[in-house]
């Protein structure tokens, strides 16, 4: 009798549990406070700040060259794209024209970053769904990109390769050949990902129709990147506000209309193919020339306000700088994609089972240092 009452209570009364900050499926130190009825999620309330480092405040006391190294530490899986946001802002403000060679190399590096990031996302997505093999497949291939980075840049994760005006150093002589080899290799390996996970019945049952968010909600919550494009929100900054070589290459913006976990999954899978297409169009045509434009040793941005948007691996990264003509920015604000994506989590997870919340979180692919900054 007592047991029956207890079960009835759990089914009918709302209770609260704590997920994180030390929980493997939150991919970092994110704490979610969940209100549940039985297994059904009634409310998700994120508690952020466990890894907040005050990067915006620190940047107010750093020169623009120094800031680049901090931006790596935001979304560390799209380190180069974060670097590019700062570089583009400074170049635009100083009216510096970067050499063509730099634009080519930057675009190739950005897309390699995107593939590497989506590979790691695929690893963890599979793992969150209970498929440990995915982790080995994904890391096996990601290793090849990190090796390419290591050869040219000397680092594997925290790259800091771009500087205002161009690149820190020229590409390694082997770079082009190794990238071509990688593309050839990965074109064979990517279908394996589909065979292993995409077609899996359990995975499809757990993702199709789960975690729905409408296009209107995506726009209202600012859910961008692959997560927004899964709901047919055409928010790819590479298309809407092109930078680098993106206006000169042909690529399709991956869009899905379903708005569920599986749609967000499919968009990322398509993006890996598109990234390879972009790299292939550029890799043979890198023009000769300087790898860095001449810049003054002390960069002082003219007084004014600057806003730069780039497409990071998880969405629309915005950088807002207010300069008062000094060598430090007066205000340095980052619009991080993960922070806005997280605000849509409640809408996606409401009414779903707690196990599905894990899959929804995996499909959002949040990186906590980017939320907390």
């Amino acid at each position: 009798m007592a047991e029956e009452l207890f079960i009835k209570d759990i089914e009918e009364k709302e209770y609260t549990i704590n997920m994180g900050p030390q929980h493997p499926s939150t991919h970092g130190v994110l704490r979610l406070v969940l209100s549940l009825k039985g297994e059904i999620v009634e409310k998700v309330e994120p508690h952020c700040g466990y890894i907040h480092r005050g990067i915006e405040k620190m940047c107010e006391k750093l020169t623009y060259q120094q800031i680049i190294h901090l931006t790596d530490r935001l979304d560390y899986l799209s380190a180069l794209i974060n670097n590019e946001a700062v570089c583009l802002t400074v170049e635009k403000a100083m009216e510096v024209e970067v050499p063509e060679r730099v634009k080519y190399i930057r675009t190739i590096m950005d897309e390699l970053t995107r593939i590497a990031s989506h590979q790691l996302w695929w690893c963890t997505f599979g793992m969150d769904m209970g498929g440990l093999t995915c982790f080995f497949y994904g890391l096996r291939d990601r290793e090849k990109i990190l090796d390419i980075f290591e050869e040219t840049i000397g680092a594997r994760l925290i790259l800091s390769y771009y500087c205002p005006g161009g690149l820190m150093n020229d590409i390694h002589p082997n770079f082009q050949q190794r990238v071509k080899d990688f593309i050839k290799y990965f074109r064979k390996k990517l279908p394996e990902y589909d065979q292993l996970l995409t077609g899996n019945v359990i995975m499809q049952e757990r993702t199709k129709g789960i975690g729905y968010i409408s296009k209107e909600d995506c726009i209202s919550f600012g859910v961008t990147g692959p997560s927004g494009r899964g709901s047919n929100f055409a928010c790819d900054v590479r298309k809407t506000h092109p930078y680098g070589m993106y206006d000169k290459v042909n690529f399709k913006e991956a869009l899905r209309t379903e708005g569920d976990t599986f749609a967000r999954y499919s968009v990322r899978m398509d993006e890996m193919w598109e990234s390879m297409n972009i790299i292939e169009q550029l890799i043979d045509n890198i023009p000769e020339g300087d790898y860095c434009a001449k810049m003054k040793p002390i960069i002082k941005l003219p007084e004014g306000e600057y806003f730069q948007r780039v497409e990071a691996c998880r969405g629309d990264l915005g950088l807002y700088i207010i300069s008062r003509g000094e060598k430090y920015p007066y205000r340095f604000k980052l619009r991080s994609p993960n922070f806005s994506n997280l605000s849509g989590l409640h809408t996606m997870a409401k009414g779903q089972k707690i196990a599905d919340l894990v899959a929804i979180g995996a499909s959002l692919d949040y990186v906590i240092p980017d939320i907390d900054r």
Binding site: G54, S220, C235, G304
Partner: protein, 152 residues
């Protein structure tokens, strides 16, 4: 819609607004009390339809505190910046816009956390990153950094 038409449209809705064409975006300076009505009209009007708030930033200008809203229309492809500020540094308060754009709910909590700017009618105005009992507002220019987090 190009900037000239946008400027006309904004002035039609709110005649006291100051509209300037900056290098990058059309910028509208508006009084705090008029902001909510202007923002709502800009979102709901079919010709402007600013449905995407892609950045909301708090700024400490030294003598005043302000908020900057970066807006975009996803179907009409135009952008605008709204700015509002108050000289009241003790108790700065603005009307919330999270009934217009849901993303503002988190961003306004962040601004409250770091600048101490309050938002009237916000459903859940608490600190979002720092502890609830944290003293002071770190991104203000007059913040005293006692434990040397920033200064070395």
């Amino acid at each position: 819609m190009d900037n000239t038409l946008l400027k006309q449209k904004v002035l039609e809705i709110e005649s006291t607004a100051e509209v300037t064409e900056e290098k990058q975006y059309l910028t509208v300076n508006v009084q705090p009390t008029k902001l909510h009505a202007l923002a709502k009209a800009l979102k709901e009007s079919k010709d402007t339809h600013f449905d995407y708030l892609f950045c909301l930033s708090g700024v400490d200008y030294g003598d005043s505190m302000g908020i900057v809203y970066h807006l975009e229309s996803t179907d009409l492809k135009h952008e605008i910046v709204l700015k509002t500020k108050t000289t009241d540094r003790e108790n700065p308060a603005f009307d919330t816009v999270c009934d217009i754009w849901s993303t503002a709910e988190f961003h306004e909590r962040e601004v409250f956390d770091f600048f101490g700017i309050k938002f009237n009618n916000h459903p859940d105005l608490r600190r979002i990153f720092l502890e609830q009992n944290w003293k002071g507002f770190p991104l203000r220019k007059d913040y005293v950094d006692e434990i040397n987090i920033i200064e070395r």
